[in-house]
């Protein structure tokens, strides 16, 4: 399988503060890669650079064979980014929001198909025609996941996908993500839920203080540390530093 995402020696400075420090990893097509790490580790900063939102201070990013420093416009065509605790335009209904977003990718009948697909994924029932401002956190997250997935991106970048969601909503969203990966979409996600990462991710990378300190499949990592859960891996690795 080819690499959908290659990150080499990526660094980011905020003024004098080094938020991401020489991070390298790659994600294969159809793989689910999970970024974990303590608060302020640099996960969101890394994801924002990969999503073309922030400039890199140094390093290299390739998405679907295209280079970030020269082809950011091309990269935007094959990615979907879902920011952590994002919202939508409050005056729109869920359906109108999906339609608004779909219009950036296609038009006519194909757009209608994309919106229908989005509504299926969101599965908000009648509430799809309520105003977004009336949605609960879980409904909002479903709508946004749906909008991120409906255009059929090659790489979906999802920051803290299930944070703040109840058990059922989190379960369903994990299911959706696993499904799209099965259909060949590459997923790069960040999470603070170690159970979720263990279950979903093909491989995990742990960032701390801007550095990538661990990388491997969940079972590899558990074996290396001689523990039973990813949570224990996280804690042992974090304490070690």
């Amino acid at each position: 399988m080819a690499d959908a995402l290659v990150v080499r020696n990526l660094s980011k400075m905020y003024g004098d503060h080094l938020a991401v420090d020489n991070v390298s990893f790659s994600v294969k097509e159809g793989e689910i890669f999970g970024l974990i790490g303590p608060n302020g580790a640099g996960k969101t900063t890394s994801l924002r650079m990969i999503s073309t939102l922030l400039t890199m201070t140094s390093g290299q990013i390739q998405v679907c064979g295209k280079d970030m420093s020269t082809d950011a416009d091309e990269i935007r065509k094959c990615i979907s980014y879902l920011p952590e605790d994002a919202g939508a335009y409050k005056e729109m209904t869920g359906r109108a929001y999906l339609r608004f977003m779909a219009a950036f990718f296609t038009s006519g009948e194909e757009m209608e198909r994309m919106v229908t697909k989005g509504m299926d994924i969101a599965s908000l029932g009648d509430r799809i025609d309520s105003k977004v401002s009336t949605y609960s956190k879980g409904m909002m997250r479903r709508l946004l996941i749906a909008r991120a997935i409906m255009p059929g991106p090659k790489l979906a970048i999802l920051d803290e996908i299930t944070s703040g969601l109840d058990v059922v909503n989190a379960f369903e969203i994990r299911d959706i993500v696993r499904n799209i990966a099965k259909n060949g979409v590459t997923v790069l996600l960040s999470s603070h839920n170690m159970f979720e990462v263990d279950q979903m991710c093909d491989r995990i990378g742990m960032i701390d203080g801007g550095k990538m300190i661990l990388e491997g499949t969940p079972s590899e990592l558990k074996e290396r540390f001689g523990v039973g859960t990813v949570e224990e891996v996280f804690v042992t690795a974090a304490v070690k530093r």
Partner: protein, 444 residues
């Protein structure tokens, strides 16, 4: 009490951010400067203007020289002894020649001249003897028209002067006690030179109020549109950031220029719609309190051609684009909806300054450094454009248009730069104590 104090300090810290304090201070300073401007302008207008006097009076045999009396009265009223630098007797001007008088006034730098009619003394003495009904004619020549509300005050000073001459003449004829209005010794006429033309029977304040009644709407309208649009665009940027919808937009396969244009044009349309509603409201308002008896601009030959209206539309459009550009730039630094509210204040103040200046003081009466400041504020130009077009102030029209084009392009250029940089998402980041604004020009 401790809890209360704790809550109060928290509240103050939240409310008194550097941005909000700065914008309030700016407003206060600007209002102070404006107050000073208006003050000096009123003082100037309240001063009795230096006047010239021309006499064509030819008293017949045995008739009293009432002109000589009037000349003395003027000195008395001014509180001056002869010869006074404020009162100049002009000689050697041919009679019945308005342009010659106006030219002479411009040569001498005198803006008001009282011209005494050739039958001045004859008419008054017939009136005094009860053998005639005509008054002694004084025609006031004006060679300068001031715009702004205070422009009309010097007219009032001259009105007072003529009234006093009348009273004193009456007293000299009838003696101490008399019924006011029993005798009307003075008949007054006006000739005003304005914008290269001579208007008979018109005072400068009539002209400036005619100009105002037609052009007063524009400054208010522009101010309102800009304040509304400014508020809208900055708070929409604030809520887009708060909801992270901006982040989402920026990762879509759309050009940054398209996103910027979408925001600009969307808010411009909304602003224009609001503007039209306000315009309609203002139109009915001014119509219902119609300025009774005032001159129409058509009668003064002051009208706009189709090309002129094109220029007006262009200038309004460019000013709105500039306002939007400034707001987009300010909005880029806003972190959330709340912070957006305080940032709209500087914009509306920036629009209010030229509004007050054009409405009350008039651009021409400003000292030159303030003229430069007013010129530099892009919103001044649409407020002044109609007057400038009617009066043919070429420099202000084309210079202003050129400046606006430059300004609008600059703000849009800077906005697109910001949209292509980290600043939009991270704000200004401190680097070794310094804020690095130039970092936004690093990337494409």
């Amino acid at each position: 009490m401790n809890h209360l104090w704790n809550l109060i300090t928290k509240e103050l810290k939240e409310l008194l951010t550097p941005a909000s304090v700065a914008s309030v201070v700016i407003v206060a300073v600007l209002f102070g400067v404006m107050g000073g401007m208006i003050n000096t302008e009123t003082e100037k207008a309240m001063e009795v203007p230096a006047i010239g006097v021309i006499s064509f009076d030819t008293p017949g045999g045995g008739v009293k020289d009432y002109y000589k009396d009037a000349f003395d009265y003027i000195h008395e009223i001014y509180g001056e002894t002869k010869p006074s630098p404020y009162i100049t007797e002009i000689k050697g001007v041919p009679p019945n020649n308005e342009p010659a008088i106006i030219n002479k006034m411009n040569d001498l730098g005198i803006s008001v001249v009282l011209v005494f009619d050739k039958n001045y003394s004859n008419n008054i003495s017939k009136l005094a003897a009860g053998t005639g009904t005509a008054s002694g004619g004084i025609c006031v020549y004006w060679s300068e028209v001031k715009t702004g509300v205070f422009g009309s005050i010097s007219t009032a000073m001259i009105d007072y002067l003529l009234e006093e001459i009348g009273t004193k003449t009456t007293e000299s004829i009838i003696g101490g006690d008399y019924e006011p209005g029993v005798l009307k010794p003075i008949g007054r006429d006006n000739v005003t030179s304005f914008n290269g033309k001579i208007y008979d029977g018109v005072t400068p304040s009539e002209i400036s109020s005619a100009l105002q009644s037609q052009t007063l709407l524009m400054p208010i309208l522009i101010m309102v549109i800009i304040t509304i649009i400014g508020g809208m665009i900055i708070s929409s940027m604030g809520s887009e950031k708060e909801n992270k919808t901006l982040e989402t937009l920026l990762t879509l396969p759309v050009k940054r220029t398209t996103i910027v244009s979408g925001k600009l044009i969307g808010s411009a349309i909304a602003g224009l719609l609001f503007g039209i509603v306000y315009l309609a409201g203002m139109y009915f308002y001014t119509n219902s309190i119609s300025m009774g008896g005032s001159l129409s601009l058509e009668s003064l030959g002051l009208t706009l051609s189709l090309l002129d209206w094109g220029v007006v539309a262009m200038v309004i459009f460019l000013a709105i684009m500039s306002a939007l550009g400034i707001c987009m730039i300010l909005g880029a630094f806003v972190k959330n909806y709340k912070a957006a509210q305080t940032l709209t204040l500087p914009i509306s103040v920036l629009a209010m300054i030229p509004m007050f200046v054009t409405m009350f003081v008039g651009f021409d009466s400003l000292p030159s450094f303030l003229q430069v400041i007013i010129f530099a504020i892009p919103f001044s130009h649409p407020m002044m454009i109609m007057n400038n077009l009617m009066l043919g102030n070429t420099f202000m029209i084309w210079g202003g248009l050129g400046y606006l084009i430059f300004f609008a392009l600059m703000t849009i250029f800077v906005t697109v730069k910001i949209y292509n940089s980290d600043i939009l998402l991270t704000g200004l980041v401190k680097k070794k104590g310094k804020i690095n604004i130039l970092s936004m020009f690093k990337r494409t």
